[in-house]
Amino acid sequence: MINQFLNNAWGQASNLFSAPIRRRRWVDLLVVAALAGIVMGLVLVAREWTVLQRPVVEINLSPWALPKYAILSFARAAVAFVISAAFTLVVAYWAARDPLAERFLIPILDTLQSVPLLAFMPVILLAMMSLFRSSNVGIELSAVIIIVTCQAWNMAFSFYQSLKTVPKELDEVSRGFGMNWSQRLRWVELPYATPGLVWNSMVSVANGWFFLMAAEAFKLGSRDFRLPGLGAYMSVAVDQGNVRAQVYAIVAMLTLVILLDQLIWKPVVAWSQRFQMDDAVKVEKRRSWLLRLLRRSEIWMRVRRAVTNLVPKRQPRPLAPSDISEEHTAFQRVLGGTMLILVLLALAFGGVKLVAVMAGVSSHEWLRLLQAGGASMARVLTSTFLATCWTLPVGLWIGLSPTWSRRLQPYVQVVASFPASILFVALIVALQRVGVNLFSSSILLMTISTQWYLLFNIIAGAQAVPMNLREAAKAYRFGLWKTSWKLYFPAIFPFLVTGWVTATGGAWNASIITEIVQFRGQTYTTFGLGAIVTQAADEGNIPLLAAAAILMALLVVLFNRLVWAPLYRLAETRYSVNR
């Protein structure tokens, strides 16, 4: 019946495209169900956002309420991701096309992607609260903003780099056959950028969960900024000492992560393989059961076709498009220049404001801040060291054995995208009972949340060790110890450095939520910058808050420039195996 209708609606044209695979009807039911689910979720969220702000978040600890909270959390993550994606497209395209903008935007993006932005969460929250006094919108918005700020930069960077590296001949084809800019974007540049964008989206979304769980459970002294969602559910369960509810929350989060992996990432990654360039490294073919199903689903194929056909017909365009000469028109230049000046002015204005605010911080306080920075830095480095100790042998073992990497990789991926921040308070409370103080447990939590970056990179590095070098080591009887020192460690060094950079970045973010913990009205703190940021926000000490957040950003940037950048160079020149 539906088929009949569709056939009439789309006519004979659709038959021409019908792939020879037999479509299965029951799959269509699932597709409809999924659509219904999405609509349900949207309605729920819309209702939530207009509710007046309550003094204390009401969380229903019944397991039956969990789906609702999961949907709410998911909706926040999804909205943030859409915003990040839009930001990525606009800013990266702008930076890649306008050399003037490129010179300013790229360093800014580069810095932003390495700064621990969770330090700015209290600032954003307070600002949003003052904008929207009467409803939940302020807190909701700040949660979304904080996720966007952790997601957007690396995606934008990846898209920018893809745009800059479109192979010369593919670009020449597009220009030579007269495609205009939007056709080039849709048919050449976006497809070429897709694998990188997909990969970075996965990383970004996993990051987003980490931030979201922290944001949903955020309290500032007596004020409660918790949002109904999985993070708050967990937080309330910990407050009430309800172990069963804590387990429910963890299981729900894990389910959500697995569902996302199976229903979104797996199909998307399998689909994005078609955009891989031919000569790219031969990777194992990723498969997705869902994509296979969808490709057999009649409705899905029709929807897809309908969308493709919807693209409006444009007027024929004169030959010899103006952008062929690579010269921008005067109008474009003025427009780009004005936008750039506006962005820079806004940044400069913010900078001046900030300096003015920070003038109120005394030299004594600055000294304390520096000491706290040192303490936090020590914890960050210790946690990275601990993580390296166990991930190095394990990662090598997994990566070097094709069977084990095939078997374990999917599990590692799921576990790694589980946001460790949901566990933080529960673990700290548990450790406190055993007698571990916050100083040590905060290191432990940092390790838990950042070890995955290292493990992933080491596995990837181990997989990339050339087979002929391994065979040579075997043939000359190197033995395990010598092979490790002479071959494996140098070969994975570049990957290790990448892992360290991301891991320390993550550890800084974790430091903000692990150095200070509120539990049943009590506040536990340990000396560190993260704790100071939160305390200053609580006391409304804006100058100190700004100073601490800026100092943390500065420390990270300096450390990147002075330690990681030289190591990177070394890795690229001496320890690169495929050069």
Partner: protein, 426 residues
């Protein structure tokens, strides 16, 4: 005679080089693409053959002079030209059919016509049945067929091809050439004319009506050879071989003139420095070994034919060996010089000594050694590049630097640390 389709008048092309200096690629090019002809462009590597094609296609504008299409000065793309690329340049995310369609879509054709034209182009190159295949599933020969189909789909008056068959194996190339000639010979349909850049003299003689020979730096048209051989041509016919020989001769005399220009003796003009031919030292050694195996003298083409090394590479290597005074090239043959004989007779240490001595006959190496002494044994790449740019403004400084380092390292004249980018004494 009918009017030319395209015409290049006094065309110059410069590219912005490193350190703000322009690299001049093409100089004073005057060329007509006539109705109903196949024009082949031959020349050594990096001589601007591909740039010439891109100028005709309007992909890049000339620095000076003008490109005309049917008497009108070209602004932007050439509407009558479609290009076939050396590395196929197919979009890996599109099927064969989509790859062809996408260029038609860019012209906003109605859906019906689009389908019709894509279908025609695909069947013309024999790709029916492969419409749904992705490029990665195809062999190189089939990939280039897609490249040709894509170009034919837009019904171009002139088909320009950038070394179209250099990436496919010899047999497939043979087949593709024949198919292309068939398509072109259909006088009723486009393409009316074809411009092919080639690196193979045989290919040029087999296909073309006229052969344009580029040489020099910046490149200019050295000569244009008419090819009157009747089609179909047999590559074993004596007239065919004679023409191949003639083209060989012209290229060789352009690249290795019998008049000595690369004087190993210190040049009279103090500022004059010989540009280095970008030949790898193992290649030079290999050439000498080959020459020895041939009994100390052989024909230049023999080298190319027997080693399966492209003729241009052979020429560059011979040029380098001649510059180091290891070989002599009377006419088209290749013989050892006395130094070359001594070099071949020595063991590795002896060879390195001779090599070093020969390097120091070249002014560029003496300059480097002086600079090294002046800098107390540590010369940065940066500084040397600057010096090279000053003294050899026509050359690509990076490439010259690479050759310089490779030759110098082999002669143990100096060492180079890549990580720190400094030259030091051995």
């Amino acid at each position: 005679m009918t009017a030319p389709i395209c015409e290049l008048r006094g065309v110059q092309k410069h590219f912005p080089g490193s350190r703000g200096k322009d690299i001049r690629v093409l100089e004073d090019i005057n060329l007509k693409v006539l109705q109903d002809e196949i024009l082949c462009i031959l020349g050594p590597n990096g001589s601007g053959k591909s740039t010439l094609l891109r100028l005709i296609a309007g992909l890049t504008p000339p620095t000076n002079g003008e490109v005309r299409y049917h008497r009108n000065k070209l602004v932007g793309l050439n509407p009558g030209v479609a290009m076939v690329f050396q590395d196929f340049a197919l979009y890996p995310w599109m099927t064969v059919e989509e790859n062809v369609r996408v260029v038609l879509r860019a012209r906003d054709l109605p859906e019906e016509e689009l389908r019709e034209r894509a279908h025609q182009a695909i069947s013309k190159v024999g790709l029916e049945g492969f419409e749904e295949a992705f490029p990665r599933e195809l062999s190189r020969g089939f990939k280039q067929r897609v490249g040709v189909a894509r170009a034919l789909a837009v019904d171009p008056e002139v088909l320009v091809m950038d070394e179209p068959f250099s990436q496919v194996d010899a047999l497939t190339a043979e087949a593709l050439r024949a198919e292309l000639l068939d398509i072109w010979q259909d006088a009723e349909r486009n393409p009316n004319s074809i411009v092919v850049v080639s690196h193979s003299i045989r290919e040029a003689v087999l296909m073309s009506d006229r052969i344009v020979i580029l040489s020099g730096n910046p490149a200019h048209i050295r000569t244009i050879i008419q090819n009157p051989l009747p089609r179909p041509r047999s590559s074993r016919a004596p007239e065919f071989l004679k023409l191949v020989d003639r083209v060989h001769d012209i290229i060789t005399s352009a690249e290795l003139p019998d008049v000595e220009v690369t004087a190993p003796i210190p040049s009279k003009v103090p500022e004059a420095i010989e540009p280095l031919p970008h030949a790898a030292s193992p290649d030079i050694l290999g050439l000498l070994e080959f020459l020895e195996a041939q009994g100390g003298s052989c024909d230049l083409f023999q080298v190319a034919a027997q080693t399966h090394v492209p003729f241009e590479t052979v020429l560059t290597t011979v040029k380098a060996a001649e510059m180091l005074d290891f070989v002599e090239t009377p006419k088209r043959s290749l013989t050892f010089s006395p130094i070359g004989l001594r070099f071949m007779a020595g063991d590795m240490d002896k060879r390195k000594d001779i090599w070093r001595a020969q390097l120091l006959q070249l002014r560029l190496f003496r300059v480097v050694r002086e600079m090294l002494q002046l800098r107390e044994g540590e010369l940065s790449k940066e500084e040397l590049l600057h010096e090279i740019t000053l003294r050899l403004p026509m050359e690509d400084a990076e490439e010259t630097f690479e050759t310089l380092v490779a030759w110098g390292r082999f002669g143990e004249l100096f060492a180079y640390r890549e990580e720190m980018e400094v030259l030091t004494f051995e």
